[in-house]
Every structure is written in C-alpha cells, then in structure tokens.
Amino acid sequence: MTVALPVRGARARGATRRAAGARRLSTKARIGALICALFVVAAIVGPMVAPYDPSAQSFAPVDILHAPSMAHLLGTTARGEDVLSQVLVGLRATLVLGLLTGLIATVLAVVVGISAGFLGGFWDELLSLLSNVFLVLPALPLLVVLIGYLPQRGQTSTILVLSLLGWPWGARVIRAQTLTLRGRDFVAASRETGERTWRVIFFEILPNEVSLIAASFVSTVLYAIGTSVALAFIGLTNFSQWSLGLILYWAQNGNALQLNAWWWFAPAGLCVALLGTGLVLLNFGIDEIGNPRLREAAGRVRIEGRAWRPADPTPVVRSGSTRSPAARPEAR
C-alpha cells in the first residue's frame, strides 16, 4: 500500500537503510557499548594471552619494580610479577563477579518489586518492609563483618553477600513503576480480555520496565565492581585469585605510591574507572532501547545541516523545497 518515495542520491538511501535496520543508538551509548565489549573480550581471552604467570615471582634485580619495558609492557611489581598479566587475569574475576552479582540482585529486585507492586496489600507491605530494612542496612560495614567472618573468603561468598545487599534499590524503583502501570488502561484491558496474571505481568507490565530493569542491572554491576575492589583493597578477598582489587591491595601493601611505581596501580585503577564509565554510558543506550520515545525526535534533529532542539520554533526551510503542486516530482 505504502509506496516508497524515489529517493535522491546515496545519502538519502543510506539514511533509509539505517532507519530500517538496527535501532539507532546515540554516540554516548555506542562508546559505552564499545568500552564494555572490549572489557568483556579482554576478560574472556585475557588469561590465555597473558605473557607470564601473574603469580610468578622473580627476585632478580632487573625484574623488581621495573618500569614498563618491552619485556614487561606494564612493568613489574616489587616481587617481580608482571603487572600486565595480573591485570589480564584479574579482569576476568572482577567482571564475572560484577555480572553475576548484577544478575542475581536484578532478578531478586524484579521478583520482589513486581510482586509487591502487582499483588499489593499484605504482600506489598511485607516486601516493602523487607526492602526498606535491607536499604537502611549500612552496606560496607556489614560486608566487612560478613566477609571477614565467613568461613570461606572467596569469590562465591562475596557474590552472594553483595547480591543480598544490592537488590533493594532496584526493587523499590520497579515496585513504584509497577504500581503506576497496574492502574493503566491497557493492563485493565488485558485482564478484561482474559489474560492470565502471569501473562499480564510478563507481557504487559515487564516490557514497560525493560529500561528500568536494565538500568538497575548496570548500576548493580557498577556497585558490585566498586565494592568488591574496595573490599579487596582492605584485604577482604581471596588472596589466591587475582582480581583488580587484589592488584590494588598489593600495590598499596608494597607502597607503590611512595616508590613512584605508578605502573603498579594505575592500570588496575584505570580499568575500574573505564569500566565504570563504559557501564554508565551503556545505561543511556539502554534507556533509548527501552523507551521508544527517547529514540528519535525527542532529542536534537538535524535539518539542513543545522541541529534543532525540541524547544526551537518550527524551522523555515525554503531552499529547493517549494515545488508547485502541478509539477510534483514524486508523482511520476
């Protein structure tokens, strides 16, 4: 039925294809996705391409606290370990911890948030109380105590404790959103057409919260990475498993800052910072995917080589666009 316009020039054709193809993401989101993808790739192949065993010590004088060189691209530690290998190996543990914690905490948040919002009444009271209690628990001291006194101080226990403390923020937000969605007409309509409760929840309400859930996931990952690095930094970690936090712990332990051995702590620190930046930028993109209204037209629009903000008055473009109705080019 719809007849496509004969488009002029390659530029117009490219634009058509782009609009029809993948969802257009903003530059911010693309940079974020790129950074995160790089880190994921590094975490997957890192241990395989690491040039040395990260724990291999060497007390030869040339190997101790050596600045970056061809043999050790990121220098060596005070015990002659290769920093690059440590970062490459440690990245995997930190990233896995972040992603797993994010996943567990987000699932908890979604289950608790949607149940509380959708069921209402007693369940809402109970679940809200629960999340409020977890929300006011001072996280870091509790983490220190829990991880410090757990019989096994490893990756798994850290993930579990971080997940347990990381879900209430997401749950509160999702509950609030579910409450407003529950009262909308389309939910009432879907109930009226006889949809089952689980279908209403998963097919009517959940898709409206995708951006919220994804944002909650990304921020939980960010929180988990930051907290795990902080815990490792104060020594609450498994010392037999390399992570970005452990590198920083040893760097601090070995007085890297006082010895001006910047290559010891800077790579791991920068990795954490860059990963955080990437995750935050990615968050913007997730917003755009989850909210179709943010995708186009909401932001700036380029017309005739100029960017227009939504608040601008309607642009007036006279050049070449005024055609007499008698000679319509597309009416061929």
Binding site: A12, P313, T322, A331
Partner: protein
C-alpha cells in the same frame, strides 16, 4: 455580507512537511487562509488532513522534524498600529512576544494541557505575569475576573485540575487563552472530549466572549455540523490541501467540492427529511506519495480521467451566491449528483 477588512492573520501558500528518513511527509501543501478581525473561521477535515499542523505551523509551534517549506504568515493586530509582522521571519524572542499576547491557543486536551500539580490560579497567573507587567494584586484580580468570564465560581481558583470537571477544565483553558487579550484564538478541537450538553454550553460561551472581546477564532474540528452553526466561514481540508472555502451558509446549502459533500453526508441533520448516511468510502491517501492531480480521486464519486490532471488551486465557484466561495474542484457544480450516488447530498433542507 463581509466588508473587505484587512485580515488579522493571513496565511498564504503555507507548506509544512515532516522530515523523515524516507522523505518528506507533506502534511500541509500551499494553503492560503485568512482570518478577519472578529471572525470565526472553521477548519474541518478528517484526522490527519493537516488541520492542526496548519494552525500550529502558522504559529511555528511544531517541533522538528516538522519543517515549514514555504509560504508566509502575516499578522496584523490592532496593538501593532498598522504594522504587519511576518511570523516566519521572526526570531525566537520576537515570537515569544507574539505568542499568547497576540495569538493564543486552546489546546485539544484540557487534561494534558493543564499541569496536574499546580493550582488553577497559579497556572493562570503564570500567563498573566509572563506577558503583562501588573502588580501582584492586579494580576490576581485579573485572574479572578478571567474565571468570571468563563462562568466558573471564584472559589475554584484554589482547585487543582483534577478537582474540576472536564467542562470546567476546558473553560479554564479558554480563560487561559483569553488571559492577555489576544487578537486571534486558535481552538484545536476544544470540545471534542466533552459531551454534547457541555459542548453546547461552551460553544455558546465562545460565541458570546467573541462578541464581547472581539477576537478572531480559528476553530479546528472534524465535526462539520458544529461548524455550520458556529463559524462564519468554513475551510475544508483534505490531504494537506484546502479543497473548499465558503461561508457556513454556502457550505451547508451548496457544497461544491465532492469531499465537502461527502462530509456533509456523514452525519444526520436534525431538520429536514431523513436520508441515508453515505459517509466517504476509503481512507485518506499517503501524504508521502500523493497521486497526481486531485488527491480525493480514489474516493470520489465524480472522478473522471480529467481529475488526475487537475491543478489543485482554489477557484471561484461559478454561480455561487457567496462571492468568496472557492473550491478546488473545477468539474462539480454545487447541485450536482454523483453518477453512482456516493458522496452526494441527496436532500437539502432549506
């Protein structure tokens, strides 16, 4: 009937398009329409025919990717003392002076146009304070008198929008539009969401206020029957183009364009003999690729091969009583019957 006065708002050859990756959607195509002081001009047409785009485009309220691709909009208000203002040439700060003070708008949905968390008084005060330099006391008095104007008790000033009924909200919108004495009020389907009783009340109020305050109204609606009663002149739009402009009387008794005939045939008249409601078969064309000639051809009962070659300009209707009666259809006379019976007014009540 009308004395030739200079129009207060003159839209000429205005074209508005929505830029998209797949090309321009030409929502308004070379439309000329003028509004004389104190006149009610009705703009009728189906959904998507470009009525609102035309009105908002003329005020430059459309957001990009909407683009005005040609034409001019001239405003001549009393306060400008004979000068005229080209709306399309104005900078944003100059436009801000023009908006509301000179051209105000009653928006379509009063529920969404009023801020739900502000009291009615504060919202009205915003308008008054933005455009007039009054003392606080004078501004408050003005706001209170605005509610008098639309017959809402003054104690409603402290209400929030959700505490008002739909009709009251719409009247608040009208009061807001009239807050700073505009010369032109654009009403975008102000009564569409209301029931007929309230609708009647509000229309009566608009007419009365118009006579008292002397503003001109551009009344946008898809309800032609409403315009027959309310408007001085009626402009009918189809697929972004004007197809007929005439006095309300002429539209009622001698519609010249087949589309207008079809519209008139889509609702029952209260008086006169019963007739079958024909409606208009089909749906409006795709504005990205309009057919050559008249865009109404696929749905027109009068259509001939000639129609695909016709130039869509408004021509005076031969033999019309109203000298201003123009139609885009050069073939169909006001009294003509469609060969296959669709799209005609079979009985005319007089």
């Amino acid at each position: 009937m009308t004395v030739p006065v200079e129009p207060v708002l003159e839209i000429s050859e205005l074209s508005v398009a929505y830029r998209g990756a797949a090309g321009d959607v030409r929502a308004v195509e070379r439309v000329s329409l003028s509004l004389r002081p104190g006149e009610v001009v009705g703009l009728a047409g189906e959904s998507g025919s470009g009525k609102s785009t035309l009105a908002y485009g003329a005020c430059r309220l459309l957001r990009p990717p909407a683009v005005i691709t040609g034409g001019s909009v001239t405003y001549r208000g009393r306060r400008l003392a004979g000068r005229s203002v080209e709306v399309l040439e104005r900078t944003p700060p100059e436009l801000r002076e023009l908006r509301w003070r000179e051209i105000a708008i009653v928006f379509q949905s009063a529920m969404n146009a009023l801020n739900p968390v502000l009291r009615v008084r504060d919202q009205l005060l915003d308008v008054v304070e933005a455009h007039l330099s009054l003392t606080k006391l004078d501004a408050r008095e003005r706001v209170a008198s605005l509610l008098d104007l639309v017959a809402i008790p003054r104690d409603r000033l402290r209400s929030y929008p959700h505490e008002l009924s739909g009709g009251m909200r719409q009247r608040v919108m009208i009061a807001m539009a009239l807050a700073v004495d505009p010369e032109v009020v654009i009403m975008d389907e102000p009564t569409t969401a209301l029931d007929v009783v309230v609708q009647r009340e509000i229309l009566g109020q608009i007419v009365e206020l118009k006579q008292r305050l002397g503003f001109a109204v551009l009344f946008i609606t898809h309800d032609l029957s409403l315009l027959l009663e309310l408007a001085d002149r009626i402009a009918v739009m189809y697929a972004g183009q004007l197809v007929e402009v005439a006095s309300a009387h002429a539209v009622h008794h001698g519609p010249a364009h087949p589309y207008t005939k079809g519209l008139l045939n889509s609702f029952p008249s209260l008086r006169g003999p019963r007739r079958e409601l024909a409606g208009i078969p089909g749906s409006p064309p795709d504005l990205r690729s309009l057919p050559a000639g008249c865009p109404f051809v696929p749905r027109c009962g009068f259509a001939t091969d000639e129609c695909t070659k016709v130039d869509m300009v408004l021509r005076a209707v031969p033999g019309a009583r109203d000298p201003g009666h123009v139609s885009a259809c050069p073939f169909v006379a006001p009294g003509a019957q469609a060969p296959d019976g669709k799209g005609t007014v079979s009985e005319v009540a007089s």
